[in-house]
């Protein structure tokens, strides 16, 4: 018995329905960015936060025109220095563990922690398991960005590898616009051990 016109209609509708579901599934499948995205851990200023192999507490954030570091380094910049004081340690493993990603994100621009001070900043030192390293991170930012609207919702991102994909990333929101700009900040040399 050949299919009636009504059966043709039903088949056609079912086909269109399946095709549209397939299209929706294809377009909403996670792309490479989502598949490889870092695993974000929300943190707050002053509170400890833990990722897979990173445990950090951001103690304070300040803005200054010049910085003097514990090893005698004095830095000037065409913009402003944002100085972050934090304690960081590795949690399970110290193989190749360092603060590889220390990025201050303002709007869609990211600034990396300066390595100009050398040993005086935590960004250059390796980490060890279970023993915290307390010290400063310094970021150079343009003057107008520090007082812009986007600076109120800036965030500090910390991770152990310089490639933050598919590993824990601690995200600490900081309000840069609310900080007063100091003329000079003296920071201590990074120190090991509990505070």
């Amino acid at each position: 018995m050949s299919p009636s016109r009504w059966q043709y209609l039903v088949n056609g509708t079912a086909l269109v329905a399946i095709l549209s579901v397939a299209a929706v599934v294809m377009h909403s499948a996670p792309d490479r960015d989502l598949q490889q995205s870092p695993i974000r851990v929300a943190a707050t200023l002053g509170e400890p936060a833990s990722g897979r192999n990173i445990h950090a507490t951001v103690h304070s954030v300040a803005v200054a025109e010049t910085v003097t570091a514990g090893n005698g380094w004095a830095g000037t910049t065409a913009g402003l220095w944002v100085v972050v004081d934090l304690s960081v340690e590795a949690v399970v493993d110290d193989v190749g563990a360092a603060l590889g990603t220390a990025v201050l994100r303002v709007g869609d621009t990211s600034y990396s922690a300066s390595t100009r001070p050398g040993d005086a900043t935590v960004a250059a030192v390796g980490l060890t398991t279970g023993i915290a390293l307390t010290g400063p991170l310094m970021f150079e930012l343009p003057t107008d960005v520090v007082s812009s609207d986007a600076a109120a919702t800036a965030s500090l991102e910390l991770a152990t590898n310089s490639d933050p994909r598919v590993d824990s990333l601690l995200v600490v929101p900081v309000d840069l616009a609310a900080l007063e700009v100091r003329e000079n900040i003296d920071v201590d040399f990074p120190e090991w051990g509990v505070r």
Partner: protein, 230 residues
């Protein structure tokens, strides 16, 4: 009665197919070629696309590249930077080009240098990261050479990462034999841009092709002897 319409249908179909069969291949090929040439004419013809010549600028001019904006100030000779442990081999001096670099992208950009082989020549490798400035024609080398170290003038640090929209004054350092250059010589400095090919499937960060020269300038060498501490 049903025979006749059927026959007509098949006759017309037959005719079209027969027409195509009888079309000589050469006619078809010529027609397609003519269409392609016509389309290429619309897009500017078959000549080679003209390559933009690199701009020639003066010392002190600001040149905006694709990622970095450079202002090359001066070039000078100096014996060594002892504080920063940049000490040339015996018989060599340092040629320093001072430039103000501003990063115009949204990400910080690391400027690294080319390691030297034991004979003192730059190790031949893909130096996409290092190529921001090159000098040509010093000590008889016809190929443009990238710097052997890059220092921040303010504090002498050699780990140079240029942050977005924060201009920083840098010293690009080359090691040159003492006898090949002296005060008053003219050197040719090339400014380079790197070309982003794609985002990179597995690697983190973009994939870049060979750098292209976007500007060049001539500088007259000064000499500061042993130099003041920078």
């Amino acid at each position: 009665m049903t025979e006749i319409p059927l026959k007509k249908h098949s006759v017309s179909r037959e005719t079209t197919r027969q027409l195509f069969d009888r079309l000589p291949t050469t006619w078809l090929v010529t027609a397609v070629a003519a269409v392609l040439l016509g389309v290429s004419a619309v897009f500017g013809g078959l000549d080679e696309a003209p390559v933009e010549a690199a701009a020639v600028i003066e010392a002190g001019d600001t040149h905006a590249g694709s990622e970095l904006t450079l202002t090359v100030d001066q070039a000078l000779l100096i014996d060594a930077f002892p504080e920063q442990l940049v000490i040339p081999q015996k018989g060599n001096r340092l040629l320093v080009v001072r430039a103000v670099v501003e990063n115009t992208t949204n990400e910080p950009r690391r400027l690294s240098t080319v390691p030297l082989t034991s004979s003192g020549a730059p190790r031949p490798q893909r130096t996409v990261q290092a190529d921001v400035l090159r000098i040509v024609g010093v000590s008889g080398q016809r190929a443009a050479t990238p710097p052997t170290s890059i220092l921040v003038i303010d504090d002498g640090s050699d780990k140079v990462v240029v942050q977005p929209h924060v201009p920083v004054e840098l010293a690009f350092v080359w090691e040159v034999p003492q006898d090949d250059v002296k005060k008053g010589d003219t050197i040719n400095v090339q400014l380079l841009d790197r070309v982003l090919i794609s985002e990179g499937e597995l690697t983190y960060g973009g994939l870049y092709g060979d750098p292209v020269v976007t500007a060049s300038l001539e500088l007259v060498l000064g000499d500061v002897g042993a130099g003041v501490s920078e």
